[in-house]
């Protein structure tokens, strides 16, 4: 492979960006769920 650095760079960017976005989104959901559990009294009582 004569153009290996270009190919590797393209694959790293293409894999890295979705992985970072997905990880950030999953952490955001987890944080929001925790805050919602604390904030939503009805949920804590099991009525919703």
């Amino acid at each position: 492979m004569t153009h290996l650095p270009y190919i590797i760079a393209a694959y790293v960017i293409a894999l890295g960006v979705p992985i970072v976005l997905a990880t950030e989104a999953l952490f955001r959901v987890r944080a929001a769920r925790r805050r919602l559990d604390v904030t939503d009294i009805r949920r804590n009582r099991g009525s919703v």
């Binding site: 153009h3 190919i7 393209a10 293409a14 960006v17 979705p18 997905a22 929001a32 919602l36």
Partner: protein, 262 residues
């Protein structure tokens, strides 16, 4: 929730509200997400290993053709993401659907990131193939304009203190900017561009060898599932954050004895 529905069919609006209300969305998306993430990850991994190690070199481009297996899916998703942004904006403007507002706001950053990857991988392909990182040719320029439209949408949605006004302004920009999508698609036909014409179309047989077509299709499906998974996850977070905000505002207003402003 605003029940206004000006010229649109009330029946369509009713169906939208019934099947896409935030609570229903949280329940459905929780079940759908594993079916987006796992097949997306597996298909992407398989296609990239296939494209990197087992797909043949191109007779003209040599091994740089392997960049196509990541560049082309991101190029498709850059346009498809903007199309979905325009659809959400249309739903938001016509039916004032709150979930469409939240989804549109979440599609913007992800679409911008995917468009940036498309431009970056295109540059990494262009340098060894054309001898230049960038040329102002019609396809590249129109995709760059798409990137700017995404950035404009992100900025506009966050530019107002009242989120509803931001969503409205962003939706108008998204719909106006949708005119760029056919320009991107047909730029290689309408103008004499350095960028090659489409190898795969809805009409006619693909002009790409089958040994290259399969890993490309696997890659496109894999990245599409991941794109959808990211959007759905972010929208879930946005729905929960909105609920938290409204609960806190209601609590604060009941403490002060004033009516809550949503």
């Amino acid at each position: 929730m605003d029940a206004r529905s000006p010229a649109a069919s009330p029946r369509t609006g009713h169906v939208l509200h019934r099947f896409a209300n935030p609570g229903q969305f949280l329940r459905l998306s929780g079940k759908v997400l594993p079916w987006l993430y796992w097949p997306g990850l597996i298909l992407t991994a398989v296609s990239l290993i296939w494209g990197l190690f087992f797909a043949p070199d191109d007779w003209q481009q040599g091994d740089t053709v392997r960049i196509m297996y990541v560049h082309v899916p991101f190029a498709w998703l850059a346009s498809a993401g903007y199309f979905s942004l325009a659809v959400c904006s249309f739903i938001s403007l016509v039916w004032r659907h709150p979930l469409a507002d939240l989804a549109a706001a979440e599609i913007g950053p992800v679409g911008a990131a995917f468009t940036a990857v498309c431009l970056a991988t295109g540059s990494l392909w262009g340098k060894p193939t054309w001898g230049a990182w960038w040329v102002w040719d019609a396809r590249l320029t129109s995709v760059f304009v798409l990137f700017l439209l995404y950035l404009g949408h992100i900025a506009l949605v966050r530019a107002f203190d009242d989120p509803t006004r931001g969503y409205r302004a962003g939706a108008i920009l998204a719909l106006v900017g949708a005119v760029n999508l056919p320009i991107i698609k047909f730029s290689v036909d309408w103008w004499n561009t350095l960028h090659q014409p489409a190898s795969i179309g809805l009409t006619g047989a693909p002009t790409i060898a089958t040994s290259m077509l399969w890993p490309l299709l696997f890659s496109a499906i894999g990245f599409t599932l991941l794109f959808a998974a990211i959007i759905v996850t972010r929208t879930r977070a946005a729905v929960m954050e909105r609920r938290i905000r409204s609960l806190l505002m209601a609590r604060a207003s009941s403490a002060t004895g004033q009516e809550a402003v949503p």
